[in-house]
Subunit: 275 residues, 2 copies
């Protein structure tokens, strides 16, 4: 039996980069969880002594802070600078982009509209770079009661769907003279889905690795099930059963966005051993 | 049969302004028809000796030229200046706006997309202000084979429908990093359209008055045809046929942005006489 990984799977570019940065900066702390994966955070703690602090005020001079993929609010960044706290910036470059856009557009006098979840740390960070009038919305209806100026800059949370973003843009375009639309949506999740479907089409068994409660992993499972009869959703190599692979020709493997490579590797190795 | 005028119809601000300018500058020539309305142009000739020349090379020093509402191509403006030909600018301010935007955005390095009819004088004029890469399109499909840079400025012909403009914008937003959308569609056209649709919904015959080559009048016809089975596009009362009105209950009347009130009045009178 052949084993093939999806062209794109698991961690996105920004998360991989952040983990590498954390591994290169032992004896440090992240401000908030670096990524939303408990096992990976435990590994960083055990292997690299990368700890976790949830409150910026807990950091003192001498501490080494890692800014996580979602970025940080501007006032917190200022606090670090004022307190001379060493920090390493692991903000995803795709998140840094809307931060910069919001700051520049705000300085040029544009009102800012951010399409995203106002409680998400990424969006809290992005919004904090506006120097005046910035509004975070998820629905067109929320814009109806906001009086915006005639020059608007629009950015999106990186993980949003483009179709929803276009609805917001359309509404603004109709009502305002100039809408400067920055498509800051990242295609990583979408690309995982496309790659999973491609592989599942030709595989006769698909192994999908990721948390049982992970919504993006469950979405991968659904996509694979549409084109492949034998799909198994597992969290670790311990769940792999030898019987699944009898008389199979091609085993496809993919993983959700919160699944670290080392778990994927262990699963792959286990399947190879059974082969 | 009842007769009802649309809530808003006929001349827009720019056309009213241009006619006033023409009336104030007797013994002059317009370069191309001042507005898309033959009868009004005849009136200006007869009452104010405002003539018409179609070729810029026909103008010589000593002539007085009126630039029409649609504006003029940049090279022609340069010719007038070089030849010291006196000119009065009756370009609609709402057309001047996209000209300026295209020039400025082009200088800032944006690729220009103009949503409009490449053969329309307004669009020829607007496009001429681009200093590089400018594309005129009416359909999303036309964009598929154009390789644009990642920074795009989008403007619209003033008389286009916002729904179609938003389709072009949506396509670009999905594909490119920054799309600077300038909604240069004129509200006058839009308001005429809303009023026409409202009236056409309840009328069983619609009379749409305006030049056969007037793009905004043709739009009105299309809009009315969507909701009313009997729509007639006429230029003057002479085209009105008695047979159209048999067994009708409500005749709606609207008119394009370049249709003078005196023509609308004549049409209305003619229909009343047939009633």
């Amino acid at each position: 039996m052949e084993i093939e990984l999806a062209k794109q799977y698991g961690f996105c570019f920004g998360v991989k980069r952040a983990i590498k940065i954390a591994e290169q900066h032992q004896n440090s702390y992240t401000f908030g969880p670096l990524i939303h994966n408990r096992l990976e955070i435990e590994r960083l703690k055990n292997q690299f002594n990368v700890g976790l602090k949830e409150d910026i005020r807990e950091f003192k001079k001498g501490d080494k802070l890692i800014i996580r993929t979602h970025g940080i609010e501007k006032k917190n960044l200022q606090y670090l600078k004022e307190q001379n706290i060493e920090f390493i910036d692991a903000t995803c470059p795709f998140v840094k982009k809307p931060q910069e856009i919001v700051q520049n557009m705000s300085r040029e006098g544009y009102d800012i509209v951010i399409f995203g979840d106002k409680n998400h740390p990424e969006i809290k960070g992005v919004k904090s770079y506006a120097e005046h009038g910035a509004y975070v919305v998820l629905e067109v209806e929320e814009l109806e009661n906001i009086a915006l100026s005639d020059r608007i800059a629009l950015v999106a949370q990186t993980t949003r769907k483009i179709e929803d973003f276009k609805k917001i843009a359309s509404y603004l375009i109709e009502k305002y003279k100039e809408v400067r639309v920055f498509n800051t949506i990242c295609n990583a999740t979408f690309e995982n889905q496309i790659s999973a479907r491609e592989l599942a089409k030709k595989a006769d068994i698909m192994i999908i690795i990721g948390g049982k409660n992970s919504s993006n992993t469950k979405q991968l499972v659904r996509i694979c099930e549409e084109v492949c009869d034998s799909c198994y959703h597992i969290e670790s190599e311990e769940e792999v059963e030898p019987g699944w692979f009898e008389n199979r020709k091609l085993c496809g493997i993919t993983a959700g966005a919160s699944t670290p490579d080392w778990i994927i590797e262990r699963v792959k190795k286990r399947i190879e051993e059974l082969n």
